[in-house]
């Protein structure tokens, strides 16, 4: 039994859990699940070095450890604080934490444009969920919000910096997934922005993942932008054999009927990407034939996306097939060449004046 690792006992909101040494409080809370999980806007378990910035995951450590039971003097960022044996943490049981979190949400929102009605992220936006759960109904901010000019990042990715909450996730993604990071944070304070030095395309075979990690609508998919609302789309799991060795090929297709509106990576219950996908899968494979559809994706029933009741929907019978007696419908067609009344062998340009039915009469033979 000597090889067995000693587990640390942690009590979060009076629920005891045993975790391996080196686990963060946030991950320990995720092990418990449910309401005791602090919200995280910048931490991303798959991105090294992320976290600690947004401060929404602040918790109170009421007992440091078994060896040193002193409480920590300040609220700590649970995503970057590792557990100690015997640690006791208060998250939703501490009014102080809830108050601080409410303050953080207010700070995050004062410069956010709140243009959810025209934002593509609406419905799957972490900030929207966060403010719904932890924010106040009104704002006390009476000043002009900070705005930025839109930056062009190439044909696939739209950057709308005004919506950004500076979580740094996309910077870590580009650092750790792609071969070369071309964007970063410029300037400082509340005018700091995600940008490239000189406007240039973000072009790298995994850069599309920055769209998935973005907690708000700052980085959106240009190939899907403004095409549909996420809650009108039907997410289905699908996969394909991707040539890229680093890409898993396992994705979610967001479909309506047989049309694929966008392709994203699969996200777990905490909104984090399970496996990264390459840009070819994401941006170029928009045909059902490219994919092997596995079935509908389970969506958290609290999410607005599940309001679409897409599961087990029956496609209405299309009457057109019967009407046309087996012929394929054509939306735009040249009536002259397709018509069974006109004769294609007669060249319209050679007829004097407007064509008349007489012109197509077959000579009786």
């Amino acid at each position: 039994m000597a090889e067995e690792k000693k587990l640390f006992k942690v009590k979060i909101d009076n629920i005891t859990v045993e975790v391996e040494p080196g686990t963060t409080i946030l991950n320990a809370a995720r092990g418990i699940g449910g309401d005791v999980v602090p919200p995280a806007m910048c931490y991303y378990s798959k991105l090294q070095g992320s976290g600690g910035k947004c401060r929404t995951c602040l918790v109170k450590v009421t007992k440091g450890s078994e060896a040193d039971p002193r409480p920590m003097p300040k609220l700590v960022a649970s995503c970057r604080t590792t557990v100690m044996d015997g640690m006791e943490v208060a998250n939703i049981t501490s009014p102080e934490v809830l108050d601080a979190r409410k303050g953080i949400v207010e700070f995050l929102l004062i410069n956010h444009p709140l243009d959810c009605p025209v934002c593509d992220q609406a419905g799957e936006c972490d900030l929207q969920d966060l403010s719904y759960e932890h924010g106040a109904e009104t704002t006390r901010y009476e000043f002009k919000r900070r705005t930025f000019d839109k930056v062009d990042l190439g044909e696939h990715i739209q950057l709308h910096m005004t919506r950004c909450i500076l979580c740094y996730r996309c910077v870590f993604t580009a650092d750790q997934l792609t071969e070369k990071r071309e964007h970063g944070i410029l300037d400082r304070g509340d005018h700091s922005q995600i940008s490239t030095y000189i406007q240039q395309n973000l072009d790298n075979d995994f850069i599309g993942n920055v769209i998935d990690v973005c907690p708000v609508g700052a980085l959106t998919d240009k190939t899907a932008r403004f095409k549909n609302r996420v809650w009108f789309l039907k997410p289905v799991d699908a996969h394909r054999n991707c040539d890229n060795p680093k890409c898993c090929g396992k994705t979610v297709l967001w479909m309506r009927g047989n049309e694929i509106f966008r392709v994203t990576a699969r996200k777990d219950q905490f909104g984090e990407v399970e496996n990264w996908i390459c840009d070819t899968c994401r941006f170029d494979k928009k045909d059902v034939k490219d994919w092997v559809v596995e079935g509908p994706r389970n969506i958290d029933r609290h999410s607005v996306i599940s309001q679409g009741h897409y599961v087990n929907t029956v496609q209405p019978k299309d009457p057109l097939v019967e009407v046309l007696d087996g012929r394929q419908p054509q939306l735009l067609f040249d009536i002259h060449t397709t018509s069974q009344v006109n004769r294609p062998d007669i060249d319209l340009s050679k007829i004097d004046g407007p064509a008349h039915s007489d012109d197509f009469n077959k000579p009786k033979s």
Binding site: R55, I110, Y168, D187, G189, D190
Partner: protein, 452 residues
């Protein structure tokens, strides 16, 4: 006349150069430390001296040094924090400009104690002329065998490098300084790990203020026992105070930490009283980040005792009725100064200097500035004062680095002690544009609580 340790020879002509400095007994401490004491003895001496960090936080230096991790085969670094950007503080500039060899000697002794073979001076970008002075001094020290390989035949190697910052206040925070020194964006790191374990290039690092490192020299020269005799209680030795504002004699003063605030402001030896015969209204005793105090609380504590110029004396009463010694940037304000305007200036500064990494500071500092601007320019509402209080409360303690606290404290203290003046600004928006609130009751003696 208080005893001087750091600025003892500052008046001597040519003290900037090696020959004069050596003639005045310079590098004697280094010789003593390297040749006869050894690292452990020096560390013990510094611990015994009770020297506290002079950069603002006042953390015991000996203890900081003993925390440094000593894994095998990993280099250790000493970083000298010369990014003195706190508004009102200019003591390190004086030291580096006039007695650079004192700093270099201090760096040599400290590096020797820590076992660091490379030492970096991270200097504020705006001090554009000082790197030349330091580099000249480093070259002189090297020529005389005090730097480089095998210093004075003891087998100890040390190189000192000077690195200029690019003008960011945040790079005075030790982890942001390390990031900047590594050539990255000056964002503070999330602690732990602390620099003593993983600092510069992930190696154990100690970051100390210029004055702290310079103070090591007299400690070794005269011995810790002699050093403790100066000052009071846990505030041992001498402290450089950079006095500015509405006083007759602004400048850098070295004080023994056993005088009262009143003596410091009004005696001829130091500030020489308030300029133009005005009356004292308020004072920020330790650089812009520390709470501002009205005259009545500055000279006497809430208990009615005389307030002393020591770490404990200025902190007496906590933040409710006290302040902090901080970095020693002593800003004095007379009756013509407007606290609202002054607070706005600081809020603008912290808004400008916030690194933008964590949300409370990034968004909150800008918000406070805008609200304060409204109040100052006659567009404020009564609810704005409570709003300000709420914003600062939600920034303080919730940020990665102390800049958030530093931005929140001045606003909090201004509202705590000068709420009348804020309310007057809101109620008399037009009058507030024309005249100041004046001294009001801020110098009136406080009711002394009856003995219980």
């Amino acid at each position: 006349m208080g005893r001087k340790l750091l600025l003892e020879n500052a008046h001597i002509e040519g003290i900037r150069y090696y020959d004069t400095y050596r003639k005045q007994g310079g590098y004697a401490a280094a010789e003593k430390a390297l040749k006869s004491m050894g690292p452990e003895a020096v560390l013990e001496e510094v611990k015994k001296s009770g020297l506290r960090g002079r950069g603002g936080a006042g953390f015991p230096t000996g203890m900081k040094w003993s925390f440094i991790a000593k894994p095998e085969g990993v280099p250790r670094y000493l970083v000298c924090n010369a990014d003195e950007s706190e508004p009102g503080t200019f003591k390190d500039r004086y030291l580096m400009e006039f007695i650079p060899h004192l700093l270099i000697e201090g760096l040599l002794i400290s590096s020797f104690t820590l076992g660091a073979n490379a030492c970096y001076i991270y200097i504020r970008g705006e001090y554009a002329w000082i790197p030349d002075i330091l580099e000249q001094a480093i070259a002189e020290a090297k020529n005389n065998g005090w730097l480089g390989k095998n210093i004075q035949g003891t087998g100890f190697d040390l190189e000192i490098y000077v690195q200029r910052g690019a003008g960011a206040y945040i790079c005075g925070e030790e982890t942001a300084l390390i990031e900047s020194l590594e050539g990255k964006r000056g964002n503070p790191r999330i602690k732990p790990p602390f620099p003593a374990v993983k600092g510069l290039w992930q190696c154990p690092t100690v970051v100390n203020n210029v004055e702290t490192l310079a103070a090591v020299v007299p400690i070794i020269n005269y011995g810790a026992d002699e050093y403790i005799k100066l000052g009071t209680g846990k505030s041992t030795g001498t402290k450089l105070i950079s006095a500015c504002g509405n006083i007759n004699k602004p400048g850098v003063y070295e004080i023994e930490m056993n005088i009262s605030v009143e003596e410091f402001i009004f005696s001829e030896e130091y500030c020489g009283g308030i300029k133009n015969g005005k009356r004292l209204k308020a004072c920020i005793p330790g650089g812009s980040s520390v709470p501002v105090l009205p005259a009545n609380l500055l000279l006497k504590t809430a208990k009615g005792d005389t307030r002393m110029m020591t770490y404990e004396g200025l902190a007496e009463g906590g933040f409710a009725t006290g302040s902090m010694l901080g970095s020693g940037g002593f800003i004095v304000m007379d009756e013509d100064q407007c606290i609202v305007r002054n607070t706005l200036t600081f809020a603008r500064f912290y808004h400008h200097e916030s690194c933008g990494q964590c949300s409370p500071c990034r968004e909150g500092t800008g918000w406070m500035e805008k609200v304060l601007k409204n109040i100052e320019y006659g567009k404020g509402k009564m609810s704005d004062i409570d709003l300000l209080w709420d914003i600062q409360r939600k920034i303080e303690g919730n940020t990665i680095c102390p800049l958030g606290d530093a931005a929140a404290w001045p606003v909090a203290a201004a509202i705590r002690h000068f709420r009348d003046e804020f309310e007057w600004h809101v109620k008399n928006p037009e009058e507030a544009q024309r005249r100041n609130f004046g001294l009001a009751h801020y110098a009136d003696p406080l009711p002394v609580p009856a003995a219980v």
